[in-house]
């Protein structure tokens, strides 16, 4: 990206950009105009001629039509260089991005180089400086990190005199409504300052380039080991200023920086307004390229120092807080504690400008509304009153040396229950009450006995210290409880999602949990690399409906692996805040919260919880997807195995009968009339037998595919089992003719509710196997009887039997029992088909040892049903 930087409008940035673009084009570079504002300047317009232009996109908004950069058209056109004027421009609401620089970032991500223009006052970190100097509030701001992505910054310089001249000549476009502000803005003094700022910006950039060049080549330089700058902010109006200051320092030092907020227990009682302020501050820090973090702790100074020590912090920036007299006495200012404790760090204390004090003083109620809460004080007062009562009673009946202990108890209770303020209040009240009730002279606040005076003073001292300790204990407890609660929630969440077996289960569980804990409607969508996002999954059916802009935000979040939608910089018009699961390379999905419906933003805790759950869900999703991948790979290898088994089976079992058929047929042909009657008959029956064998094989393959498609729906009806056995026998006439087949069907097993065609095929396959594996002349017994709930058909042969270890596996596809001498003809499909068919009819099939341990017995069991006789007799 190349930025043409100017001090003010009218210095000729666009003109220069177009000139450069034309030169590049002449060199053969594919340069396309994305958006260029000529503001009617003739020289500029002339430069636009012959440059290809991507038509702008028209947006109707509030009855007017706006023209914006057509991002999608540009992405599709994919030129080498795109010209995009006015980088800091804010897009019309409803555009994909809120800001034009986000459009530019997307172009850059897509590999399109961008030439763009920028005025120095739009740079975020200079924003308040410009405002202070020129008195003009600039609303369009450009985050500094965008500037850092520029490969080149070209300063377009024009001396202020010349610019003023051009202005007078009307060469600079000035919108009428802003005329007054602009007149003010274009004063000579302002222009000088802006020019200075622009030059400094450009020079800093050159410095940085030089430095990184030297570092990259290990040239020794005067810089120390890299550190980090830490900016400590509170939830007050200073935060924003501190962050901008931090950015300037970080830029000058060329160091990364962090914005830190320490949350003490009091922060939970922050007013809505303060929470929002903190939120804004974090967003700003993010935009300015800082890492923003919020941590818990009881002492801000200690937490800051510990944090700084652990993270290679070299410089700490804090604000000088405005303090009340009381606070000043009780607790030293953060800055001074840091200065005392942080000798290793360079500490910058930013002073607080007056107007900030004024604004805060003007609205005291808004600062710490919890101070106005009366309840803790009322309760403390009650505690003290109770203590007084108890003491009074004790004083009447028992002689106790010092009743102040009873009051101390009340003070400690108040401090533990309500914090330091209430504790101190209770201490003061208790000492007064004690003084009033129990020191001589009684019922006055006067003290006659110096011993009493001493004891009251000590009481006050002890209760202040004790109260302080108790309050701190309470804070610690609170923090511990909070973090325990959060880790409890996360643990609970991880347990909930651990049970999910499919991606959808997981996403649904995540939604349910998010909805329960954060109390916003939530949604999840799967994302696919290069294929957008899938169907919405909600906590319950049906999933919440998404409109186009929501889906757009979800898709953007997934593909860029960054949050999008509500309260973000991308498609904030969507009500949903989407957080991505996965990375840019491997997007897995997004989860979204409907914040827009309640016009809410997440508090830092909620945000932390949300993103922690997001991380857990992402990990779990990754796990599930990986498992699915592994399963799929296994399936693929399994089907590979089946395919090769099928191929070998087909080549062997189809070719063998074909060889006999072709051989016999050619013999018949060749012998012609010379063939004897008997030879002819023999050859013909070979053809017939082999043809039938081939047919059985094909039938097996067909049956297998029927099973494989899972489309097998048994057409059950009442059949006569004897008929089916008879048909099977008829079909196997040739293979069975050397065996003795004995059929015994018990009368109650004659009528069976099954799919006749399927059961017939099962019997054929089992009988065929029996014939194949048992010696000729042996007996094959087919029986059928009722055993409990089942009707069991048995086929017993006198073959070699099947070893127990292999009895399960014979039902696997293409499995053949190993034979000592050679492999038997067959496909290894027969029993697999039987199993499939029998199970489809709701039964089971098993292989057992035959009679007296010899041979094999196959048992086919089908659920028994009583034939509907009664109805029949009525009808007959």
């Amino acid at each position: 990206m190349k930025i043409f930087l100017g001090a003010a409008p009218g210095v000729g940035k666009t003109y220069e950009m177009l000139s450069v673009a034309r030169r590049r084009r002449a060199e053969g570079v594919d340069v396309v105009v994305g958006i260029v504002e000529t503001h009617g300047r003739r020289e500029t317009e002339a430069l636009l001629e012959n440059l290809p232009v991507v038509p702008r996109r028209r947006f109707p908004y509030r009855g007017r039509e706006f023209e914006e950069l057509n991002l999608d058209a540009l992405l599709t056109r994919k030129p080498q260089v795109a010209l995009v004027d006015e980088l800091a421009h804010t897009n019309v609401p409803g555009s994909r991005h809120e800001k034009r620089y986000q459009d530019v970032e997307e172009l850059l991500d897509a590999g399109i180089d961008v030439f763009t223009t920028l005025n120095v006052q739009h740079i975020e970190s200079l924003n308040d400086l410009v405002e202070r100097i020129t008195g003009v509030k600039v609303r369009e701001r450009l985050p500094n990190h965008v500037l850092e992505t520029a490969d080149e910054i070209e300063l377009i310089d024009l001396p202020p005199e010349e610019l003023t001249k051009r202005l007078r000549e009307g060469k600079v476009y000035v919108p009428e409504e802003a005329q007054r502000a602009v007149d003010n803005f274009f004063s000579r003094g302002n222009l000088l300052v802006l020019r200075e700022l622009a030059m400094r910006m450009a020079v800093e950039r050159v410095d940085a380039d030089l430095q990184s060049y030297m570092q990259a080549r290990a040239i020794e330089g005067p810089w120390p080991a890299r550190g980090r700058i830490l900016v400590c902010i509170g939830a007050d109006a200073q935060a924003e200023r501190l962050i901008r200051l931090g950015k300037r320092i970080a830029d000058r030092r060329q160091l990364p920086w962090t914005v830190l907020h320490v949350q003490t227990s009091r922060a939970e009682e922050l007013a809505e307004q303060q929470r929002e302020r903190l939120q804004l501050a974090f967003t700003l820090a993010d935009q300015l390229g800082a890492r923003a973090e919020s941590i818990h702790g009881s002492s801000i100074a200690n937490e800051v120092l510990a944090y700084a020590a652990a993270r290679n912090i070299t410089e700490i920036v804090v604000g000088r807080s405005r303090r009340r007299l009381v606070q000043l006495r009780l607790r030293p200012a953060l800055a001074s504690v840091l200065i005392e404790g942080g000798s290793d760090f360079e500490i910058t204390v930013a002073s607080q400008p007056h107007e900030d004090v004024r604004t805060e003083a003007a609205a005291p109620g808004s600062v710490t509304p919890n101070r106005l809460r009366l309840r803790p004080y009322v309760e403390s007062a009650i505690a003290v009153a109770l203590a007084a009562g108890v003491s009074w009673v004790l004083d009447l009946y028992v002689q106790i040396g010092d009743l102040s202990l009873v009051f101390l108890f009340a003070v400690l209770i108040s401090a533990i229950r309500h914090g330091l303020g209430a504790g101190l209040f209770a201490a003061a009240l208790a000492s007064l009450t004690f003084n009033f009730l129990f020191t001589d002279p009684r019922f006055t606040l006067r003290i006659s006995d110096p011993e009493d005076l001493l004891s009251i003073l000590f009481f006050l001292l002890v209760s202040v210290i004790g109260g302080n300790l108790a309050a701190r204990l309470r804070t610690q407890m609170q923090i511990t409880r909070d973090s325990a609660e959060q880790s409890g929630l996360l643990f609970d969440f991880s347990r909930r999602i651990a049970g999910a077996v499919s991606a959808e289960d997981l996403l649904r569980a995540t939604c349910q949990y998010l909805t329960e804990t954060l109390e916003f409607e939530s949604i999840a969508l799967r994302a696919y690399a290069g294929a957008g996002v899938g169907e919405a999954i909600g906590a319950a059916e049906p999933a919440p409906a998404l409109i186009d802009i929501d889906r757009g935000a979800a898709e953007w979040a997934a593909t860029h692996a960054e949050p999008a939608g509500w309260s973000t910089g991308t498609l904030p018009a969507s009500w949903w805040l989407f957080a991505p699961l996965g990375t840019v390379q491997r997007p897995l999905g997004v989860i979204g919260l409907n914040l827009g419906a309640k016009h809410a933003t997440l508090t830092p805790e909620q945000q932390r919880l949300y993103f922690a759950m997001r991380d857990q869900a992402a990990t779990a999703l990754e796990r599930i997807l990986l498992t699915e991948d592994v399963k799929r790979a296994q399936l693929v290898s399994e089907s590979d195995r089946l395919r090769s088994a099928l191929l070998s089976s087909v080549s062997h079992d189809l070719r063998t009968p074909l060889a006999s058929i072709i051989g016999s047929a050619t013999s018949l042909n060749e012998l012609g009339d010379n063939a004897s009657q008997s030879a002819r008959r023999e050859l013909a029956s070979t053809i017939l037998e082999e043809g039938q064998r081939l047919n059985r094989f094909v039938q097996n393959l067909l049956d297998m595919t029927r099973l494989g498609y899972g489309a097998l729906k048994p057409n059950n009806d009442w059949c006569d089992l004897r008929e089916l056995i008879g048909r099977a026998r008829a079909r196997l006439e040739e293979p069975l003719h050397e065996h003795r087949l004995e059929v015994t069907v018990a009368p109650e097993a004659e009528i069976i509710y099954a799919d006749g065609a399927l059961l017939e095929q099962v019997i054929v396959n089992v009988l065929d196997n029996a014939a194949k594996f048992s010696p000729s002349g042996s007996r094959i017994a087919v029986g059928a009887n009722v055993q409990g709930e089942d009707l069991v058909i048995t086929v017993t042969d006198e073959g070699p039997g099947i070893p127990p270890a292999e009895r399960e596996r014979v039902f696997d596809m293409f499995y053949r029992v190993r034979d000592r001498d050679q492999r038997r003809p067959g496909t290894g499909l027969g029993l697999a088909i039987c199993k499939g068919f029998v199970e489809a009819m709701g039964g089971w099939i098993a292989v057992r040892a035959g009679q007296e341990g010899h041979g094999t017995r196959v048992e086919i069991a089908l659920p028994r049903r009583d034939p509907p006789r009664n109805r029949l007799h009525e009808a007959a």
Partner: protein, 227 residues
């Protein structure tokens, strides 16, 4: 002497060839059609006595062609197909096919079906009597004898046997049997059939393991074995 003209509708030349050779040897006159279009032309120009129809034709499905054939010809149709699914069979039979033979098939069986189908053609004179082995059925006199002994059949048993006799050698679908014997409201009640066929078999001394008279076609119907 010609035993009648047979139209073979099949797109496979090999199938047509062996059918032609075989049927020719049995004295039939043969005409051939390789697709539905040729078949319909041949049907009108040269009406056959029997049609052999393959379901898998290149230009139209045989199932769809059946009604068209029925519209121009009353000749019996034997469907010849590799589709072995019972539902296909029932569909073809219900659409007017006389019989259904699954490929591959043996020639003796096929010739028997052809003869049976041709007998229906001369419908009027058809078999008031049926005899296979020692079984004699005299429809007109309601008399059934087995090995000379008179078999007593109930009215419905006899009715069932009579329907089978009328279609001897051809499969009669469950629905058709139920419709003709029990009436159109009982077309679904296949369990009646099973019971009555069982009783009939018992009385006729027919072994379901090795049927001599009544053959079951699972999921389709029953057939009285060709004399």
């Amino acid at each position: 002497m010609s035993a009648g003209r047979i139209l073979i509708i099949d797109d496979e030349p090999q199938i047509r060839r062996f059918l032609r050779v075989s049927l020719d040897a049995h004295g039939f006159e043969i005409s051939e059609a390789a697709n539905a279009k040729e078949a319909l032309q041949s049907l009108t120009s040269d009406p056959p006595a029997l049609i052999i129809l393959d379901l898998g034709l290149p230009d139209r499905d045989g199932q769809a062609l059946l009604p068209d054939i029925r519209a121009v010809s009353a000749a019996p149709v034997i469907v010849l197909s590799v589709r072995a699914d019972e539902r296909e069979k029932v569909r073809a039979l219900d659409a007017g096919a006389t019989d259904y033979v699954v490929k591959p098939f043996g020639m003796p069986e096929f010739l028997a079906r052809v003869r049976a189908a041709l007998r229906v053609r001369s419908g009027a004179e058809v078999a008031p009597a049926y005899h296979v082995g020692d079984l004699h059925v005299d429809i007109a006199r309601h008399r059934v004898t087995l090995d000379g002994r008179v078999i007593r059949l109930s009215k419905r048993e006899f009715h069932l046997l009579a329907v089978l006799v009328a279609h001897a050698g051809r499969v009669v679908t469950h629905a058709q049997l139920l419709r003709e014997v029990w009436g159109p409201t009982h077309e679904e009640d296949t369990q009646y059939l099973r019971v009555y066929v069982g009783q009939l078999r018992d009385k006729l001394g027919d072994d379901p393991l090795k049927p001599r008279f009544i053959e079951n076609e699972p999921g389709v119907g029953y057939r009285l074995i060709e004399p």
